[in-house]
């Protein structure tokens, strides 16, 4: 097999708190190609967020390694931008400032001030948030906050975009809107995306592959499912598609029949 863009090799994570050691992940192997959209799904507490944080560099591996674009990951960095579940925008900064903080830091030495301003605006346009540039996070809705979080992550031009249950806290309609936005952005930028989710429909609609995790402790990858659906995908058309229906059914079967919590 050719070298993958993002390679998770034999990753195990053990948290030690005093004398108590809990093994969260064990022997996780996963290869992600450039431009691929991969979802990680599993029951609560199965360590899927831990796996994402390992790739982000926020949690150190106990065994194994993560290799991104031929380089080992051992610290957080803007090449692996994270969209956190609860948006994590800085409340004292405006929408524009939240994104420009990232842009100025990542491109401070590369782009001129005018280019950085332009790039900040461009990314806020991608997520359709230019109408609220000078609003503070407390003044916009949850869905909008998440859009700004996505814009901030995209603005770092990451090699891999990490989404940690990005739509988990949103209502169903807002979630659908944001999923469509993410699909559009993925179609135009061809980012490599790793997304943690607990929503079966979301995983089936957005992903090229769905990684299903077994229950923790000592969670591992139980099964990987290819979703061979044509892109662009339309949520209405896809609902009738046998490939989609099959993918959905397979994930549900894995989660609820074989690995019931």
């Amino acid at each position: 097999m050719a070298k993958a863009y993002l390679s998770i090799e034999g990753v195990g994570v053990t948290f030690a708190k005093g004398a108590v050691r809990s093994e969260v992940l064990t022997g996780v192997d996963l290869k992600v190609d450039k431009g691929e959209f991969v979802s990680i799904i599993g029951h609560s507490g199965c360590g899927k967020s831990t796996l994402l944080n390992v790739v982000a560099g926020l949690v150190p591996v106990t065994t194994g390694a993560v290799i991104l674009d031929k380089q080992e990951v051992n610290a957080p960095g803007p090449d692996r931008a994270v969209v956190f579940q609860n948006h994590s925008l800085l409340p004292w900064l405006s929408v524009r400032e939240n994104v420009s903080l990232a842009v100025d830091k990542v491109f401070g030495g590369v782009k001129t001030a005018a280019e950085r301003r332009e790039w900040t605006l461009h990314n806020l346009e991608l997520v359709k948030m230019t109408h609220a540039l000078d609003k503070r996070p407390s003044e916009i809705s949850g869905g909008m906050k998440q859009r700004v979080g996505i814009a901030r992550a995209l603005a770092m031009e990451p090699k891999v975009l990490l989404l940690d249950e990005p739509f988990g806290a949103l209502d169903a309609l807002t979630r659908a809107h944001l999923q469509d936005s993410v699909m559009e952005i993925h179609a135009s930028l061809r980012n490599t995306v790793l997304m943690v989710t607990h929503d079966v429909d979301e995983a089936a609609l957005l992903s090229d592959r769905i990684v299903m995790m077994t229950n923790g402790p000592r969670a591992a990858i139980g099964q990987v499912l290819d979703v061979a659906l044509q892109r662009p995908r339309d949520r209405l058309a896809v609902a009738e598609d046998p490939t989609y229906i099959h993918a959905r059914a397979a994930v549900i079967e894995f989660l609820y029949a074989r690995r019931a919590a």
């Binding site: 926020l58 957080p76 931008a81 994590s88 004292w92 903080l101 830091k105």
Partner: protein, 296 residues
């Protein structure tokens, strides 16, 4: 005399334009706006005013016109009329109007409190962000902060051998503890999300300090500063009583020795109102600095 408007009025004006029909009659709405504002001001000013009147009435009724001991409000007025009506006179020495005494005390508080604000925030950041600094210093701070201001005075007099720096030190040592402790709590409560954002962006320690730590901790810092300025005002009055010279604390002590109790009562009103405005000033500053995000 004016009272600062309360930051949250019960009748929020924001909702009104949304419900109102699109073309409101400008004149009628302006008139009703004035009435509403006047009503809100009256609601804020009238109850405390009535309370003050009631207290003065009770006080007058309880004491009457018996001479000796605590004077009644009427006696305070007749005996200290000059002091109340003219706070700006200056007859040289310590024979000055209350404004000058309060101003001298405020200058001392200004210096002592500024030093304790800077040192307090720095120490608070240190023990909030460093586990070993916390373990080493926090127990000591918890013990020292319970020492009363006046207990520091003989020690600082022995150390500095002069009244002025001793008074400043007492203000400093009294007001620094709430600043340290609140800052440390704020630093320890910085949400993990913000820290993760900083890590992903690879902010340098200096960038982290100014772009994440300081703004995230601002509401806590200002809570500490508010408590601190209140305590430093308590400390100045107490320490000036022992140190002498110009200052509202010494004024009170001096009038006590001269048995002019009614002058002391006037001075107490000045002390209370000054303390109140100091507190409001720091709260306002916190509101401006944190751009309205403070929890105050």
């Amino acid at each position: 005399m004016t009272f600062p408007k309360p930051s949250f009025s019960p009748a929020e004006p924001v909702a009104a334009p949304v419900i109102a029909p699109p073309p409101p009659e400008p004149r009628a709405s302006r008139g009703s706006e004035i009435v509403r504002r006047a009503g809100a001001t009256a609601a804020a000013v009238v109850p405390p005013l009535l309370t003050v009147l009631a207290i003065l009435g009770l006080w007058q009724a309880a004491i009457g016109d018996s001479y000796g001991g605590l004077p009644s409000p009427v006696q305070v007025w007749t005996e200290s009329k000059d002091l109340i009506l003219n706070p700006f006179f200056d007859h040289g020495g310590v024979d000055k109007g209350l404004f000058w005494h309060v101003l001298t005390s405020l200058k001392r508080v200004g210096v002592g409190f500024s030093v304790s604000a800077v040192c307090g925030v720095m120490l608070g950041v240190l023990i909030g962000s460093n586990r070993w600094a916390h373990r080493g210093l926090d127990p000591i701070f918890q013990v020292l902060r319970t020492v009363p201001p006046l207990a520091w005075l003989p020690i600082s007099l022995a150390a500095f051998r002069e009244a002025q720096p001793s008074a400043l030190f007492v203000i400093f040592i009294t007001s620094i503890w709430p600043i340290i402790i609140n800052t440390a709590v704020g630093v320890r409560n910085i949400p993990t999300d913000y820290v993760n954002v900083a890590k992903v962006l690879r902010l340098s320690p200096v960038e982290y300090f100014f772009k994440i730590l300081l703004p995230a901790t601002t509401p806590y810092i200002f809570t500490g500063l508010r408590i601190g300025i209140g305590m430093s005002w308590l400390a100045i009055v107490a320490s000036e009583m022992l140190l002498g010279g110009v200052g509202v604390g010494f004024f009170i002590w001096d009038q006590y020795n001269a048995s002019r109790i009614s002058d002391i009562i006037v001075a107490l009103a000045w002390v209370g109102l000054t303390g109140f405005f100091l507190d409001r000033l720091v709260a306002l500053l916190g509101h401006i600095v944190s751009r309205g995000n403070a929890a105050s």
